[in-house]
């Protein structure tokens, strides 16, 4: 009985940290060298896609402090000003408070469309931050390209998150 309870607790903990670990892995994958010419300049922050997914379907599994930590990690690894991705990720999570019911009620295509909209807005915020930090207006195109790469990869990451979500549900 005691042993069962122990394993139940371990299983609960694993379920709670699994989404965080997946986003962490995606953060690593988005920064390791891929040896594809020109890719690193427009590599999308894959973590953002997963944060969006969990924010819609299981926000309780990826709370705000975890999102902030993942954002700080992205800042640290990419050499971005500290707070940049932390702010972007948290703003995406905040935007989902009012929108997630809409996404939950509709088909995957609407979810994808919603991500596209949020990703483009995030690209513009990133561009504004870059302009403020550099005190000059950098080209907007690479930021939009980066967002488009993320939009194109969204179904793949959403599928990964969905599989994990099913796995965690089966485990209950």
């Amino acid at each position: 009985m005691g042993e069962n309870e122990h394993w139940h607790k371990v299983s609960d903990s694993a379920r709670n940290v699994a989404p965080f670990l997946l986003v962490l892995l995606l953060t690593f994958i988005s920064v390791v060298p891929l040896q594809v010419p020109g890719y690193s300049g427009i590599a999308p922050p894959l973590a953002l896609l997963a944060i969006f997914y969990w924010g819609v379907y299981r926000p309780e599994l990826l709370p705000a402090p975890a999102v902030a930590l993942l954002g700080a990690l992205q800042d640290i690894l990419t050499g971005a000003p500290l707070g940049q991705y932390m702010l972007i990720y948290l703003l995406v999570q905040a935007s989902l408070i009012s929108q997630r019911q809409l996404f939950l009620a509709h088909a995957f295509f609407i979810l994808w469309w919603g991500y596209a909209l949020i990703a483009l807005l995030a690209a513009i915020v990133l561009w504004l931050i870059a302009a403020a930090v550099l005190q000059t207006l950098p080209a907007l195109t690479p930021f939009l390209l980066q967002a488009c790469m993320g939009i194109a990869l969204f179904p793949l990451v959403a599928w990964l998150c969905h599989r994990l979500s099913r796995l965690l549900a089966d485990d209950v």
Binding site: P33, S40, G41, P65, I76, L91
Partner: protein, 301 residues
């Protein structure tokens, strides 16, 4: 009547609950914004945390990167199979050309040694180098930097230049125990004082996040043409002099841009160069007076 009175109480009770639920998110957004403002004004403030965190994560990044890099290389090889014959031919021609260069280098090396013997100058052999694997190639649209799996423990320190394929890649901007961050010359903030090798005229190279570098601060009478090589001038002491950086070419608008010698978009391994401090290079032998026959004009060196 009672029900009408109860409804507003229920709504007002829900409001604080919502506030409590979302207060941490609001506070974290405010904290992130404050952190962003502070780190933009004082970028060096969080550098210690950044370096220590990168050191801590380096083994995990290396573990994740190795299979992904291998898979990526395999896919690239497979997609290039059709071009293998042409590539082989190109490499054969390049090999012949390099053999000719090798002969010239051996001759020059012997001549250089003879001249140094004549001047009683020791050969500068104190230069050290560390080769490190790139474990992070990131940055985004305007920031270009890499993290290399080599740090203080291997002799890497802040300010050292990094090279790949014989060309300058950037310089170490922070070094931890087992990893270091290299700011690439293509970063928007990177500036490299250079010389046009053919004319010895000075200029400044800067990055814009793209594949080529911009040339500025050229003298009005500057003569630069496509194919001219640019090397570091050593001005400002940021980079040691003489490191190959890039080759000039005209872009589609006819402007002169510089193509880096190292392929900055596909960095796998980099060589971090420690040219040694001046104290390393000076030996009692080198401070000996010049032979009488060579005093005067030759002494200006």
């Amino acid at each position: 009547m009672t029900a009408k009175r109860k409804a507003p109480i229920s709504d007002s009770a829900r409001l604080p609950a919502g506030l409590v639920q979302y207060a941490p998110l609001g506070l974290l957004i405010a904290a992130a914004l404050a952190l962003l403002v502070v780190s933009s004004v004082r970028p060096q403030l969080g550098e210690g945390v950044r370096t220590r965190s990168t050191d801590l994560l380096a083994p995990a990044l290396s573990a994740v990167g190795q299979p992904i890099g291998a898979l990526s290389n395999l896919l690239t090889t497979l997609s290039n199979l059709t071009e293998l014959r042409a590539e082989n031919e190109r490499l054969r021609t390049e090999n012949d050309r390099l053999r000719a260069y090798q002969t010239a280098v051996i001759q020059l090396e012997a001549e250089n040694k003879g001249l140094r013997d004549l001047l009683k100058m020791p050969l500068v052999t104190e230069q050290r180098e560390v080769v490190g694997r790139v474990i992070v190639d990131a940055g985004g649209p305007f920031s270009r930097n890499i993290i290399v799996l080599a740090g203080n423990r291997d002799g890497v320190r802040t300010g050292l230049p990094a090279l790949a394929a014989g060309g300058l890649v950037g310089r170490v901007v922070s070094a931890g125990q087992n990893s270091s961050r290299v700011l690439l010359i293509s970063d928007l903030n990177a500036r490299v004082p250079v010389l046009i090798e053919r004319t010895r005229q000075r200029a400044m190279l800067s990055g814009d996040g793209g594949a080529t570098l911009r040339l500025s601060d050229l003298p009005t009478d500057a003569q630069i043409k496509a194919g001219d090589r640019l090397v570091t001038s050593g001005a400002g002491g940021i980079y040691p002099p003489g490191l190959p950086v890039g080759v000039a070419r005209a872009d589609e608008n006819g402007r002169v841009v510089v193509e880096p010698i190292a392929d900055l978009t596909r960095l796998e391994m980099v060589q971090i160069l420690d040219p040694g401090t001046p104290a390393d290079l000076l030996t009692p032998e080198s401070s000996q007076p010049l032979p009488p026959a060579l005093r005067g004009g030759a002494g200006g060196r």
